[in-house]
Symmetry: C2
Subunit: 232 residues, 2 copies
């Protein structure tokens, strides 16, 4: 019985910690590093401000955690989508899968993304290190995707690989600044982004197994192949 009670409390505690992080991401994305006050975070989380100190030592520790958690989670989400792919899928399709996973993640957890996007350059140095380390780890995932595609001859040879990778990630990250559901469905945005990336980076003869890139039939909303990525 005692064990059960503790586990219920642990889970309640984990949920409260999560609510504080979510609220901090919300406030940080709107007020910025200097303008984020614990009283606003507490109000948004429907808690008393001192309760936050049970979970985080300081305002700075909470902000650091928002940045780190945002970077960790998107990395885990994209890696999971890649790991779910069949092993014989071609490298270009791994990139298109990462495009979809990244895009869906930033749009549904947009508070963390906008918090990181808008404040990454505003953090004091001592709060940057952990966030930078997570970003680097995530960057390595993308670097490997591009290296593999280049090795398979699937990338246009005239592109600078590093710049290409960052331009693609930039296009995806920026969506949190303009996309909302009045613009259409996330599915439609994913298809447009995948089509641009496919056409933009792949060598002429490359084809995709997960999106239909044949010029003859541009409409591909009902392609049964799509399902693979959606569930990935």
């Amino acid at each position: 019985m005692a064990r059960k009670t503790r586990s219920v409390e642990d889970s309640k505690s984990a949920r409260t910690r999560e609510r504080i992080l979510d609220s901090a991401a919300y406030v940080l994305s709107r007020k910025g590093f200097a303008g984020t006050r614990l009283t606003d975070v507490a109000e948004h989380a429907q808690l008393q401000a001192p309760a936050i100190y049970y979970y985080f030592k300081s305002r700075e520790e909470l902000i650091e955690e928002v940045m780190v958690v945002g970077a960790q989670r998107i990395c885990a989400h994209v890696v999971e989508a890649l790991d779910a792919l069949p092993s014989d899928i071609r490298p270009i399709d791994r990139i298109l899968t990462a495009v979809e996973a990244h895009l869906r993640f930033v749009l549904v957890t947009s508070e963390y993304t906008t918090a990181a996007t808008r404040n990454g350059g505003q953090l004091p140095d001592h709060l940057r290190d952990r966030h930078e380390a997570e970003r680097t780890a995530y960057g390595d995932v993308w670097r490997e995707l591009f290296t593999d595609a280049a090795a398979a001859g699937e990338l246009k040879p005239d592109l600078d690989a590093g710049a290409t990778r960052m331009l693609v990630i930039g296009a995806l990250n920026w969506t949190v600044e303009w996309w909302d559901s009045t613009r259409g469905s996330i599915d439609a945005l994913v298809r447009t982004a995948q089509s641009i990336v496919m056409g933009g980076i792949s060598a002429p003869e490359t084809t995709s197994g997960i999106i239909d890139t044949s010029p003859a039939k541009p409409a591909r909303t009902r392609s049964p192949r799509r399902k693979k990525t959606v569930t990935a």
Copy 2:
């Protein structure tokens, strides 16, 4: 003589105002809306803080002006590049020219861009209106470019036009967060961005008159045609 003196003073005053704006953009991009203090702006501009009030009524007016000026200038710069093109240039090449002009502008005036990027979502409502109006005017320039290219049948028909435009602009804007001269030349970045955009958005049979998109000869750094865009 009096006129000459006044004109010299006017020009000195204009330079000082400009230096304050530049410094405010610098501080705003690093400290955020809530963290930007006039004393820091003054220190960066090598002025006494009260001198700022000769040019701007308040901290908020100065910040608003940084956001507005940044949006106005990039719009003017891109429009100028487009106006310099020959009248018979095809719509897709007008888009590629805008890609280059936007990219070069954000990278050389990156303080204004990062200030706007990071703080656009953090401004209080009463400071947003003028910035939003300028952004909309600039958005209209891009909208027209895409409408013309679509009308000419030069865009892939499966793309969502609005999403495509914003994904392209996002990729370009995001460069201020990662690009620096250790990554290579701006020229190389411009070529990579143009190549991705061209392949990503154009209909299969579309060719460009300003970049070489023939699959047979991917390396195009020395193409004499390039000069047209560089000087545009």
